[in-house]
Symmetry: C3
Subunit: 257 residues, 3 copies
């Protein structure tokens, strides 16, 4: 029996998360339910997409990811199930799923098209039953009407030339570390045989560490993190607060001639 | 083996929740433990009762709900186990259980009457062993001394006449949505063939939506939610903050002659 | 199959906790994973040690406790696995494990010495695989290079004489209760046949309660809590806020001649 993960933006002081779990367990007590996070900022698709794309591949292939973030979406958004990189996703076609992978989906259908119901709580009433069906081995194409494509949004892109990489902070994590969208492989290709200068806020650095603790306490570390992205932090401190940087702040790397 | 759910007011930065779980697992590793919420405001019986009554019926019948909210209660409050609507509840007789259902209990006993112990942590030392016994099939009446009734408190009631329904906000959820105590069936009976005006804060509305997204972004939606209660929110916004309303704020519906 | 518990300081709004869980489940889906807390303050070894030592013995013997708190540690800190009081612990040798027990460890090894990898996310890449191996019955000594001892730090000690016990607040819990390092047995030995005065902030008390509710609402209770330590609180109130006390505040008991 496959695992169902939950990712919701409802916080944990209400009944919403438990109601979704209870519905899954009631339909099929054999399903294993695991939390990803329920502390996504309300309706924050960017936050949810960052968390989901950072972790979904760590779960076994075939896992079903139920995403209750901005679940009501916008007028006209469909409820969908899709298969992507051998994982399943159930949620609202609000643009979130387009941000988690560059790969083409393997299967896609619109939910709630067979015996459609009206509900203000689709996570419990539509997503949970669909997730249980997928976990029980029902084919995705049997869950609803086929769809040709789902909504894609364009994420913040880096600008990379032989002289410069210009990126942004795409997530301030719970430690206050600043995670950027600058990937290690792009940096390694462009920096070959060159020295470089990193610039963010008023700071300049000419070195990238391999470990957080290569910086001294209270000093900046700059690493390519476990996701393969450039991350700036303050060793044993909160970089966002101390450097005055936030989501969307600019990060520049200039290559010396 | 039945499920044991946990609902506690201790937050998640201490050992309390884990200690209760660990005790359950140590007594019987076969018990499945599921969290409802541990972010109930300290000793807030109203908050806990709202969450519990909103979700307990979503779990399979026979589920045991361990409630560690205001668990020490007031001087003289007993520790109790009860069966209600085919679910089991274990906790303190502090008035909470009287708020979750109008039905009469099926069974009731006072805990800690056989080999009574003194403890400042009844959730771990008294509730957890009782919950495991119920999950293992022990009869409720074997857990302690029979009791005739448990404490009931009177909840905020609506006033409903042919001219008006006067209710209150009974929960501000994590999205800032305002959930009232006005039930859909009462509204539908009284509003038949009539137009109406909803009033709260300085706002007046003459329409109820069936979906959150029928409002425009930043505008009020008014729906009967998945619990069957009137709920006001701001589409993609925080209604409590933006409307300046809170727990106990007044909500009026006037029927036009 | 043994249980693996997780204790992390990463909060719950990121992918970190789920990534560790996912890695464990992917390696061995039979492992049961239970959360202790992920709301430890970033890098707060004292907070984590308090929570861990307060709860680890409530889990069955043989449980594996994965500790991702200050996981990167300081330059030169090893990643370790140890057996202590018949429980297993996996984490960073940053001093935390020396604070959870006075007993001598039964086994100890340095991790990441066989096919060592470089990672900025040791919780997922080093601790999770080690925890799964222990849960699967692999001997601790097979996980890495033997070590003679691990780092010990000296915790806040009480000063106890025939005239006085001087202690400190070692934890302000989620209720605002002040938990001190004054143990019940020391107090009972020294207070035999004597009256005493407790002093903290500007307050003086001459009595210790056995139950929280022996105080009146809004009044101080003073109990030896379920951990066996002196705890001060305000019945249905937040003592830290109302008394203006915090972590490290002084608590004195004077014995009358």
């Amino acid at each position: 029996m496959a695992i169902v993960t939950l990712l919701m933006d409802s916080g944990e002081s209400d009944h919403y998360v438990a109601a979704v779990k209870a519905r899954i367990i009631t339909i099929n007590p054999g399903v294993r339910v695991e939390d990803i996070s329920h502390r996504i900022e309300p309706n924050d698709i960017g936050h949810a997409a960052f968390v989901l794309r950072s972790v979904f591949r760590d779960f076994p292939k075939g896992t079903i990811h139920l995403v209750g973030v901005d679940a009501v979406g916008n007028r006209g958004d469909a409820y969908i199930a899709l298969q992507l990189e051998d994982h399943f996703f159930v949620g609202c076609d609000n643009g979130l799923f387009g941000l988690i992978s560059d790969k083409t989906h393997q299967n896609l259908c619109e939910l709630n098209t067979i015996n459609a119901i009206t509900t203000t709580f689709p996570e419990r009433d539509i997503f949970a039953p669909a997730a249980v069906k997928l976990a029980s081995g029902v084919a995705l194409s049997d869950l609803g009407r086929p769809m040709p494509f789902f909504k894609k949004m364009i994420d913040r892109q880096i600008k990379a030339t032989r002289k410069q990489i210009a990126g942004h902070v795409i997530r301030v994590d719970g430690f206050g570390n600043l995670i950027t969208n600058i990937p290690k492989d792009v940096f390694e290709t462009l920096s070959r045989d060159k020295t470089f200068t990193l610039q963010f806020g008023g700071e300049k650095f000419r070195r990238i560490h391999t470990q957080y603790h290569q910086a001294d306490e209270g000093e900046c570390f700059i690493v390519f993190n476990s996701l393969g992205f450039l991350e700036i932090g303050i060793y044993k401190g909160n970089a966002a607060t101390l450097l005055g940087l936030d989501y969307d702040s600019i990060m520049n790397i200039t290559f010396d001639e």
